[in-house]
């Protein structure tokens, strides 16, 4: 905790009780799902690269990793429901207003593609269709790895919502690090160069972006540094940085270093998701993360109503333009039309 961030808040509450409800989600299910989804999605991207650059060992490893991870993540998702037998109700509507609905449909597209490309590869059947499925899995995989940031950002949970601008990039880089790490650990050494590079670059970006997220200046960001979340995130950085340094220095020449370094980077990525999850939970338990920022906003003369008025004025001024913006936002679900918006992740 830097002294700069320490604020002395005085605020009123109702017997110190939380205003928000604690997330009903289990850490193992949902943080685990976000990690496994990221691992699967980025592994599919890695597999697509491997299948088109003549690296059959890396291709098979990444495709099997993707299938295993996405299967585990679907199990975790269903397990977390209050009524697991009603899982298919997720597919009775398609709602762009609900990231969980959008995610369910992305998952429905991605899962079969990842499964088909892995099956074709392992069984040696339909090679051309298998590769096409591999490309599809890579593209939809980029959505699987990033939509989860929108999923948790689109809540009233202070830490998650306040981080919504950075979280997609943190998750994307962390997904790349984990996929690169697992592939570096499991793929043949002489084919593993792209995996190691993905792990090292992903780990570097993940570390830089998560530090930026933790120092964003939002009051809620202090939950990243305290308690269980703080411990998880410090451990995450130790694994991520340690593994990446190992991979960069000795990954090319040593099987042992490549395996341990890769697994350490992947573990760091998993710990990051659990840390972010716990930070969000902590921010719902203390009413100060709700009251203090809202009071500060009101004191600064920027109530929510002012924003609403501005928004409406913007919509009134250019209805077509506003709609266009939103539509572009939705196209992101498919993630095929956004190359122009690529940010230095």
């Amino acid at each position: 905790m830097s002294p700069r961030r320490e604020r002395r808040e005085e605020f009123t509450s109702y017997y110190g009780r939380p205003i928000l409800k604690e997330p009903t989600w289990e850490a193992l299910d949902i943080a685990g799902y976000i990690f496994a989804g990221g691992l699967a999605g980025a592994s599919s991207i890695l597999a697509a690269g491997a299948q088109h650059s003549g690296r059959p060992g890396l291709e098979r490893t990444a495709k099997l990793t993707a299938l295993t991870a996405i299967s585990a993540s679907v199990v975790a998702l269903v397990h977390d429901l209050g009524r697991p037998e009603r899982f298919v109700n997720m597919l009775r509507v398609a709602k762009p207003t609900s990231p969980m609905s959008v995610g369910s449909w992305i998952l429905s597209a991605y899962g079969p593609l990842a499964g088909a490309s892995a099956a074709a590869n392992v069984l040696g059947i339909f090679p051309r269709a298998g590769k096409a499925a591999g490309i599809g899995a890579g593209i939809t995989g980029s959505a699987i790895a990033t939509y989860t940031a929108v999923l948790i950002g689109d809540t009233a949970v202070p830490t998650w919502h306040d981080a919504h601008g950075r979280l997609p990039f943190v998750f994307a880089s962390s997904a790349a690090a984990s996929a690169g790490g697992v592939a570096a650990a499991l793929a043949p050494l002489d084919e593993g160069a792209p995996a190691r590079r993905m792990a090292v670059v992903g780990a570097a970006v993940e570390t830089a972006l998560s530090v930026a997220m933790e120092r964003s200046g939002h009051l809620s960001a202090e939950t990243f540094l305290r308690g269980k979340a703080g411990r998880l995130l410090r451990l995450s950085k130790a694994f991520t940085v340690g593994g990446a340094v190992g991979l960069a220095l000795g990954g090319r020449s040593s099987r042992v270093v490549s395996t341990l370094g890769g697994l350490a980077v992947a573990a760091g990525s998993a710990l990051l998701r659990f840390g972010v999850f716990e930070a969000g939970r902590a921010s719902t338990l203390d009413p100060k993360y709700v009251v203090v920022p809202q009071r500060e906003r009101l004191a600064a003369g920027r109530p929510a109503s002012a924003e609403a008025g501005k928004e409406r004025a913007a919509v009134d001024a250019g209805a077509g333009k506003a709609t266009g913006t939103t539509t572009a936002g939705h196209a992101a679900e498919a993630n095929t039309t956004h190359a122009g918006e690529a940010q230095p992740a």
Binding site: L46, N89, S98, G153, A156, F169, P194, S305, A332, N335
Partner: protein, 272 residues
């Protein structure tokens, strides 16, 4: 209206709502009891004494759809030789039935829906207990029922409204602290009541959730409070999270594109 918010469709009939005038609340909890009875809301298992004045339900939740808050506010004595006084604040809280309802927006199954009265209700035969609405609500109203797994909250007595009756809590309220009716009319009534209280010197009196321009586009259930909202456990200036959803999708699209581009670069220069 953004594509990322469902908002309020045109109903064709006046929108219904609650106006809870806490200056009239006597803390009898008849609303809590009537709500439980009419809606067959189960008791929470433990009978707990919280030590928080006369409040032993503490918060709204899956099994508490009306919650009466009790605040004992110290009033410093004017005369130093006299004892400090206590001012009682009591307020019956309820689901706000927001115009831009985050729970409704994020529900992935369509279990939450906007009724013909303009209220927000969970269809219990559809809800699969994903819990997304619980984390989306900026007021901390809706929750998952333990042992059942589904999400529950106030329905504004949907069944009674269908029969032309008023909700059970409003019917049971002995002081007309809870008023049910057409929202526009309730807002006028609330404005008049606020002016009356201000005239009487109630400095802290304020309307909460009445403004159609607030962060949730106006609350279908709004309040007249005698102190700041957070004193009653209410967020002072909540915002519906889905307002930022277009920006979030854009960032996620950028991140996904960056991930694909980064992966391509990784292969570009990699030695075979």
């Amino acid at each position: 209206m953004s594509v990322t918010q469902l908002g309020m469709p045109s109903l064709g009939v006046p929108r219904k709502g609650f106006f809870t005038d806490t200056s009239l609340c006597i803390g009898c909890k008849a609303c809590e009891v009537a709500c439980k009875e009419w809606n067959s809301v189960p008791a929470d298992t433990n009978l707990e004494i919280t030590g928080e004045s006369f409040d032993n339900t503490s918060a709204l939740g899956a099994n508490t759809w009306r919650h009466v808050a009790f605040i004992e506010k110290q009033v410093p004595a004017q005369d130093p030789s006299a004892h400090d006084g206590v001012k009682w604040l009591m307020s019956s809280d309820v689901c706000k039935h927001c115009t831009n309802a985050a729970c409704l927006d994020v529900c992935p199954t369509g279990a939450l829906f906007r009724t013909e009265h303009g209220t927000v209700v969970v269809q219990q035969d559809v809800c699969n207990g994903c819990g997304y609405c619980v984390s989306a609500c900026p007021y901390g109203v809706i929750d998952q029922r333990k042992g059942d797994g589904r999400a529950f909250k106030c329905t504004m007595c949907y069944d009674r409204l269908e029969a032309g009756e008023e909700p059970a809590c409003a019917k049971a309220c002995p002081t007309k602290s809870i008023q049910y009716g057409e929202l526009d009319e309730l807002r006028e009534r609330a404005d008049a009541r606020l002016a009356e209280l201000k005239e009487r010197g109630e400095e802290g009196a304020q309307l909460y959730g009445r403004d159609p321009d607030n962060g949730v586009g106006g609350d279908g259930a709004f309040f007249l409070l005698l102190d700041e909202p957070e004193t009653y456990g209410l967020p002072p200036d909540p915002v519906v999270t889905t307002r930022d959803l277009p920006a979030m999708w854009k960032r996620a699209g950028g991140a996904a594109a960056g991930l694909l581009a980064g992966a391509a670069l990784v292969f570009w220069g990699a030695k075979k």
